[in-house]
Amino acid sequence: MNNLALKANSITKYFHDPVTMQVLKNIDVSIDKGEFVSIVGKSGCGKSTLLYVLSTMDTDYEGTLEINGITTTGKSLNDLARIRNESIGFVFQFHYLLPDFSCLKNVMIPALRLGKLSHKEIEEKAYEKLKMFGVEEQALKKAGKLSGGQQQRVAIARALVNDPAIIMGDEPTGNLDSKNTNIVFDMFRQLSKEFGQTIIAVTHDEDFAKRSDRIIEMADGEIISAKK
């Protein structure tokens, strides 16, 4: 039991605007530590919505959520912020960087927030992460001046900087060419295998999904298959 990175019990969520509709219907899902999971499904089936709930950012749902054995449902916003900062790295569907800051700073900020390492150590670590995704040359450029793919890679580097237990990505390779997609995939693979980090990635890339440990398929707010 202690081996679960994440456990969701009958998660249900409604949207009320413009009309009440149920986006997530009784979702049960357990993900092991070190597992590399892909979530697939048709556009609009609720993948992003589920991911936001699992990331603790969205607290407006029914059901319960446990992360690393701790129930996060009902915790205060500040506690959740702390948990996210420490144990969850998130790559958004539309790679959001802070455009006024350099790429390096963007990657450093979550680590500075966590405050476990010195400024210098954080800087070195951030630089190393940028290097892993081949964007170290852009380190000192303002984030707003990068191409879409470059921004996405910086965003992935940022998600990894605190060595989070869980990395969540909403189409993390959506903007990347096959070469860079492979780099990211290999990196995820390595993180899950060697460092026991859990990867949960929403993707439309069939090949990417097939090569992961497990595919969770969604349709219409429900999980229709979750075989290993």
Binding site: S48, Y52, S55, M57, D58, L77, N78, A81, R82, I83, R84, N85, E86, I88, F90, F92, F94, Y96, L97, L98, P99, D100, F101, K105, I109, P110, L112, R113, L114, G115, H119, R158
Partner: protein, 414 residues
Amino acid sequence: MKISVNTEIALTYLTSRKKQTVVASLGVMFGISMFIFMQSLMKGTNDYFEKMSFTNTPHIKLYNENKVADNHMLRSFFKDESEKILINPKQLSKSQGLTNPFGMVDQIRRLAEVSAVTPQVTGNVIYTSGSVELPGNVAGVQIEQEDKMFDVKGNMISGNLLDLNRIHNSILIGKGIADKLSLHVGDNITVRSGSGNLLIMRIVGIFATTIKQVDETKSYANIAQVQGLLGKDRSYVTEIKVNLINYNNAPAVARQIETITGYKAEDWVKANEQLKAGFKVRAVILNSVIGVILLVAGFGIYNILNMTIYEKIKEIAILKAQGFSGGAVTSIFLQQAVYIGIMGGIVGIVFGFSLTLLVSKIYIGAGTLKYLPMSFYIPHYLQALSFGVITTIAAGYFPARKASKVDPVTIIRG
């Protein structure tokens, strides 16, 4: 130096929007420099008028107030417990002067706060020279004490005030009297009292104050001569004037003197009520102007932060997604307000000081007022800075709180 990540983000936002930051700080700067300038001008003017009022008013004046007769004399005469009733009490005339004045002068002189005490006899007189007559009043004084209190020497335009003690029947007259009667030092002047006594006096000096009415009526003579002129004895004194080391203590010391002597002691605050009323009115005007300026500056900051938050709402969501708490976000935006406030405050202090210095050099040349009286008073600068910072914090607080409430999911979904 280790700065927190919140501070780093706040500073980046400020520097990536230089123009707005500068405009917001300018608002604060303007408010603070105006605050300093106007406070300095007001305090300078008030101090000046206060000082001016001391050139002819003592800090405390002891005199015999006309009052309705009561039974205290009877009581001290009979020294018993029986009740004394006065039938048909009358208004007592002030012309009786003070009883035992020189004893009281000694008593008052012994008070720790007192720096100078002098008795005075004032009498209404008519000055005559040739066929021209002029009404006025003569003050019988001990001229050294009078000089110590009011700097009579500084007002002398000719003659020597110490001749008053050396030359028998001598007098110092105001410049207005001298002009009207065309008299000079060394000339004689006839002084006639209300009781009809007449004295021919030698003019040993002419003085000019800033007040025309005083110069046209007032003269100084030795106390003994005025007593003689009024037909009174050597213990006749109409008032005792007292100056203190610190004039702000006047009301308290006046009460003390009243209890010691039993006479009315009027402090300068009471004697100059209209002056004080003027100070108060000016303070109200000044404070409303400053209030408006700071309000406008505060709105500037509020506006700019609100705009920033509107623009940066996605970034705020990102920060929160990455684990920044509501408090951290509040801190980021409140810090921006505080830095704007501090920047504007420091520049405002420098600017306010320079403006005050510059204006204090403007030549006015009206009467004894040569330059605009400006005060350089450190507490004004500290007040200005704290007002500035308080305004910016108040103005920054609401936008910052709004930012802290941003829900990351709603924003990131778009």
